[in-house]
């Protein structure tokens, strides 16, 4: 419900601009239609308290325990803006390159629904925080595309409704009511479900880098509604727009848009017309279905919120925040490329999340960047996927990974053993040096010991030994493998090779 509104009316005016910026080809199979998508993203800001009262915003509390007369909408109370919510919003808007407005005000958006105790939502209508920003995405072919941001405005979240399936009642928890949100409205410049997905990934990355929201879609701290229409290629007039709601992951956004793209193309091919309506995505059935056909919900009767005074945003403050923004993804990519001399693919992987980039930089303090990169994009990410965990949730200190890498480099443990040590490290949180000692993983680099094993291998592999003598070089690999087997992977492969060669070829 709080998802639509002013932004959409605004974006209509930019149709022509969207047209001139068109870059990608439409994704639809027949190539007859062009897909036009605009996204409305709501970001919950990571403040301690609500936007207009001092109730806590902690997630997961008992129902209706984080409420007060202000957020319950009781008569005679006065909302006061949370400074931190304002600063978080400002940081996002600045990072998105928006034009920050010199003054902003709040308005009441009126609608009647039990998750909204005041019967209006405090939002911003005609004097929002910011207009005209951008998000840059990378298309499949490696090209960069700019997606415009129409506007960004502050508002309060609504409560949570739980519906009793088949029952006669709904249950209301107002803990979330009044949580600060920033709504970010894109231009209708997205041309495919894939681009929509990339836009969300890039936007989330920027916000996470700023540290102003956890952007957790499952917990609702980042939510997205999509507007989609099709038009025949070459036409500038937009088709009727369908709004899709109820998508709980980036993947769901992409799937819902794919579905809707096909559905609309079918309707149009059969000579039908697209009804302007709101549709809900059904994750299990993989379809969208009509939620309400009538356009009554657009009658929000906005008017200025008399209980909140206007705000002036000084260019001085904007400049100060801009100067102090943390390094953003694009800048970090550039720096990684230059400083660590990695290719763009690796740089992309390492900077995909702020935490991964931070982890990488901590490891490289103690070790060589190339190996740190290989270990992170290989083993570390495998463990992250296995556990669906963030890099710091793996509970491995960057220093421990650096230690493991150094032990491999110095020939103390084999690459294979190192993988075991890492797993042990993650599972038990122990120092890699202790693990190596306890599990007896020290690489056998003792020449005398290796020579004995090599002798055994030579005796039982007469044929392969002859092959090597006759110049079949790949026979050496087989023999080294045999030594490895006998030492359970602990033989130093380089040294083993040297001994074998010397003993066989003399």
């Amino acid at each position: 419900m709080p998802m639509n509104g002013a932004g959409r009316q605004q974006s209509q005016q930019f149709v022509v601009l969207g047209e001139s910026l068109k870059t990608g080809e439409s994704m639809d199979k027949k190539g007859k239609y062009e897909t036009v998508v605009g996204l409305e993203v709501h970001v919950q800001l990571a403040t301690k308290t609500k936007v207009f009262c001092s109730c806590s915003t902690r997630f997961g509390a008992e129902p209706n325990t984080q409420v007060c007369p202000v957020c319950l909408g009781q008569p005679g109370v006065l909302p006061v803006l949370n400074k931190e919510a304002f600063m978080c919003s400002l940081k996002i808007a600045i990072a998105l390159g928006c034009d920050i407005q010199e003054s902003m005000k709040f308005d009441r958006k009126n609608y009647y629904y039990p998750d909204l105790p005041k019967n209006y939502q405090i939002s911003q209508f005609d004097m929002p925080l910011a207009y005209a920003g951008e998000v840059r995405i990378t298309l499949e072919d490696g090209q960069e595309k700019r997606i415009g941001i129409t506007r960004a405005h502050m508002e309060e979240d609504a409560g949570k409704l739980i519906h009793d399936p088949g029952g006669m009642c709904s249950y209301v928890d107002l803990n979330r009511t009044g949580t600060p949100l920033l709504e970010i409205v894109s231009e209708p410049e997205i041309r495919s479900p894939e681009e929509a997905h990339e836009y969300l990934v890039a936007l989330k990355r920027i916000i996470k880098y700023l540290g102003v929201s956890d952007c957790n879609m499952a917990e609702g701290s980042l939510r997205c509604d999509a507007n989609i229409s099709l038009r025949e290629k070459g036409r500038s007039k937009l088709g009727s727009k369908v709004e899709i709601k109820n998508m709980n992951s980036f993947k769901a956004v992409r799937d819902a848009l794919f579905y809707e793209e096909e559905r609309q193309a079918e309707v149009l091919d059969e000579g039908g017309t697209i009804k302007q309506e709101t549709r809900l995505w059904d994750e299990e059935k993989n379809v969208t279905s009509s939620m309400r056909a009538k356009e009554e919900s657009h009658d929000y009767r906005y008017f200025p919120e008399p209980d909140l005074v206007p705000f002036d945003i000084s260019p001085h403050l904007v400049q100060k925040i801009r100067d102090n923004l943390p390094e953003l993804p694009a800048a970090r990519r550039e720096r990684f490329k230059k400083k660590y001399n990695l290719d763009w693919y690796d740089v992309g992987v390492l900077t995909s999340e702020k935490e991964i980039a931070d982890f990488f930089e901590s490891v490289t303090v103690l070790t060589e960047p190339r190996s740190a990169c290989n270990w992170i994009k290989g083993e570390i990410m495998m463990h992250m996927n296995e556990r669906s965990a963030g890099i710091f949730e793996l509970n491995i200190e960057p220093g421990y990974l650096a230690k493991i890498i150094c032990m491999v480099r110095d020939g103390i443990i084999s690459n294979l053993a190192a993988k075991d040590v890492l797993r042990e490290c993650i599972e038990r949180g122990k120092d890699p040096a202790d693990i190596v000692e306890q599990k007896g993983l020290l690489q056998v680099s003792d020449k005398g010991e290796l020579e004995l094993i090599v002798d055994e291998v030579i005796t039982v592999n007469e044929k392969t030994v002859n092959d090597l003598k006759n110049g079949k070089e790949n026979a050496l690999g087989f023999l080294i493998g045999q030594v490895m087997r006998k030492t359970k992977g602990k033989a130093n492969p380089k040294l083993t090779g040297e001994i074998l060669r010397k003993k066989i070829k003399g």
Binding site: S54, C68, P69, P114, Y171
Partner: protein
């Protein structure tokens, strides 16, 4: 204003019904006429403002022209207890407000 004004009432019964629908109110015919009159009277009262000459008055968004930029710090304060929060509600169960089913 009396019943004779009905024909030139600035508010039509359709408008009253539409506003009622937006407000989730169900009105019968009699209510509709009553509110049609009341709303018309309110508009008429407000229309007096049109008589004021505002040509040299700059637009404002708030009645307190000198008060701006009022913030509070992000410091948690007191909330109500669950019982206090629910006490004034007509119906509640297991910590939730209970309302007639909505879509």
């Amino acid at each position: 204003m009396n019943a004779n004004n009905i024909n030139n009432n600035p508010i039509s019964t359709d408008v009253v019904k539409y506003v009622a629908e937006l407000s989730r109110l169900s009105l019968d015919e009699k209510d509709t006429i009553t509110f049609q009159h009341q709303l018309a009277r309110i508009l008429e009262y407000i229309a007096q403002l049109n008589e004021v000459d505002t040509d040299s008055t700059p637009p404002t968004t708030h009645v307190l022209p000198t008060m701006k930029d009022v913030f509070r710090e992000d410091v948690p304060g007191g909330s109500l207890s669950q019982k206090e929060a629910l006490d004034a509600a007509p119906d509640s169960v297991r910590g939730f407000f209970r309302v007639p089913r909505v879509i």
